[in-house]
Amino acid sequence: MAEVQTTFVKAINAALARAMRADERVIVLGEDVAEGGPYTTTAGLAEEFGIERVINTPISEAAVCGAAIGAAQAGLRPVVEIMFIDFLTLALDQLVNQAAKAHFMSGGQLTVPLVVRTQGGAGSRSGAQHSQSLEAWLTHVPGLKVVMPSCAADAAGLLASAIADPNPVVFVENKSLYFRRELAPEDPAPVPLGRARTLRPGRDLTIVALSRLVGEALSAAEQLASDGIEAEVIDPRTLTPLDLDTIAESVRRTGRAVVAHEAVYTGGFGAEIAAQLQAAAFDFLKAPIQRVGAPFTPVPVSPPLEDAYRPGAAEIHRAARIAAHWDEPFAASPEPGAVTAP
């Protein structure tokens, strides 16, 4: 298939437009969406589809999320944008108590074909209320699906599937992925929810990384290769449902695993992946599963502090070396200061 140069933002924008062209039940609503939003993800949609389908809302996250749920129960396919995942806290009651449970509590009478698009992640010097990674909270709620794409092509394909899905899907983007130049298929196919992607094969170690950390994991894998360690890199792409089979199959082969995300280490989704992995592959593990996450602090605004806060390739590399050398009795001790310990 022909590939074109694009960005994550353009891929999201095009996927929304495609969905709206194909299905008139799809509407977009959120703060400033008809103006394109602060990151231009919805730019041009109001011009093409009109402000009846691309609906600006007041700053009322809770009621807007609830209205989207009500519209979904009434047969529309709303894509509601919560500008920053930090503000999803305002809409959590609606997501958790209404959207996630409607199908279940109605005995299957109601469905909520809703997508909540939001973005998180640090790195923009915006401070602790505009930079968080809160996806783990959402994975704790039966009835929600949680998607975290790491590249433009997946973003387009996963968004198409999320909109087609009869369940509420929270689609978590990362703002630092938005404007990088990427290649993606000109006409991207839907990517099914619940299927991981192996980006790089390797025999020595498995790195499972989420969202922005996928690119960081690939960089770390390059560096590990020059150390003589061949790392396999897997992107789960959706947290709920989680493709444990692909991850566990890899770890049974490699015997070592690193799980990496930008969210705070404590209570992060990496803990869930590690727990499920050790149950699925215990007999094959040659080292404790290593986790990479941010330290247990709010996101600092001061540039050197924020840079130190954000986990990246260096932290993944360090964790991978611990895993790779764990059972070598005379291996050098890993450097101190790793953020892989709580």
Partner: protein
């Protein structure tokens, strides 16, 4: 106790005989259903927190009775009356309260989460005010489809102090939605009177700046309420929403079954008992000769018999299979 003061007349001038009898029948069905539920709760045959609307049946009957099946109703935690008046079969509501597989929601919803999609009851909720935004979205969908469907959301006066209420009223007014907000103002938010929650006496005052039609009516005067809502419904059908209707009413039971009701003012309670909407409308129907005493007795007995059938139906219904919970977490692709 001396001679009971007769109830004030209902303004049944607004009603014809057939309509009045229909409303009475609905109110008796709700009343008998809920009285039976209170009994069943004492012996733990119905489950969980049970909130009854005894004394407030007139609102459910007068409003839901004028809606079509394709008009949507959202409700709160005190929802049995709304469900029954909107058309939910008594036996399936009873089975739901007993957690049985033939319940409206196959036993997975319970008293606070009744849904009957076929009759346009899209749902009750246990979160106070939690369904008001959903009703906004439902009305938005109706408007976008270009239909004349109307959405009604019931909530108590306690819900008015939530952010959901304020945000939703603003959205509904901004988007000019075919939504009727119905506040059942029973004067109590759980255990404490309205005066302990807000300095705004009437709910209409809280939405005054939006300038959409808003009225406070006596929720125990079913005839008057019926007429006011008919006019509201007509406006909403013609796209002139949103509207708010505040029904001054009363709950004769506690916040939930088992509530000690230490807060209840005995004198006021006696007054509300005198203004029981069912007694008022029935007395008036008899005065209008739409009904005689025997006919009134037959209405009540008919409702009680139907409730007993519902209890038998519910008791005979099996509990759901254990696997059902896992099967209904996610909807499958259609």
């Amino acid at each position: 106790m001396g001679t009971p003061t007769p109830p004030p007349a209902s303004t049944s001038a607004e009603l014809d005989g057939e309509t009045a009898l229909g409303l009475l029948r609905t109110m008796w069905r709700i009343r008998c259903f809920e009285e039976r539920v209170a009994q069943l709760k004492r012996t733990l045959q119905v489950h969980g927190l049970i909130h009854l609307s005894i004394g407030g049946e007139g609102v459910a009957a007068a409003i839901c009775g004028q809606l079509r099946d394709d008009d949507t109703v959202y409700s709160g935690h005190r929802a049995h009356g709304h469900a029954i008046a909107k058309g939910a079969p008594l036996d399936r509501v009873m089975a739901e309260l007993m957690g049985r597989s033939d319940g409206l929601c196959r036993g997975l919803g319970g008293s606070m989460h009744l849904v009957d999609r076929a009759h346009g009851l899209l749902g009750a909720t246990g979160v106070v005010a939690g369904n008001i935004p959903l009703a906004v979205g439902n009305a938005l969908a109706a408007r976008l489809r270009g239909s004349d469907q109307v959405t009604v959301v019931f909530f108590g006066d306690g819900a008015v102090q939530t952010g959901y209420f304020s945000e939703s009223v603003n959205l509904a007014a901004l988007w000019e939605l075919p939504l009727i907000l119905v506040c059942e103002n029973n004067g109590f938010a759980e255990f404490t009177p309205r005066s302990a929650h807000t300095t705004v006496e009437r709910v209409c005052d809280a939405v005054a700046p939006y300038r959409f039609p808003c009225q406070s009516v006596d929720g125990t005067d079913v005839g008057a309420l019926f007429a006011v809502f008919a006019a509201d419904l007509d406006l909403a059908r013609r796209g002139r929403g949103p509207l708010l209707l505040e029904c001054m009413t009363h709950r004769r039971r506690g916040h939930y079954e088992g509530d000690q009701e230490a807060y209840r003012d005995a004198l006021a309670d006696a007054e509300w008992q005198r203004r029981d909407p069912l007694a008022r409308l029935q007395a008036d129907a008899i005065a209008q000769r739409w009904l005689d005493e025997a006919g009134a007795g037959a209405l009540e007995q008919g409702a009680r018999a139907e409730v007993e059938q519902a209890v038998s139906f519910a008791r005979a219904s099996p509990f759901p299979a254990l696997e059902l919970a896992g099967e209904l977490v996610y909807a499958s692709e259609r």
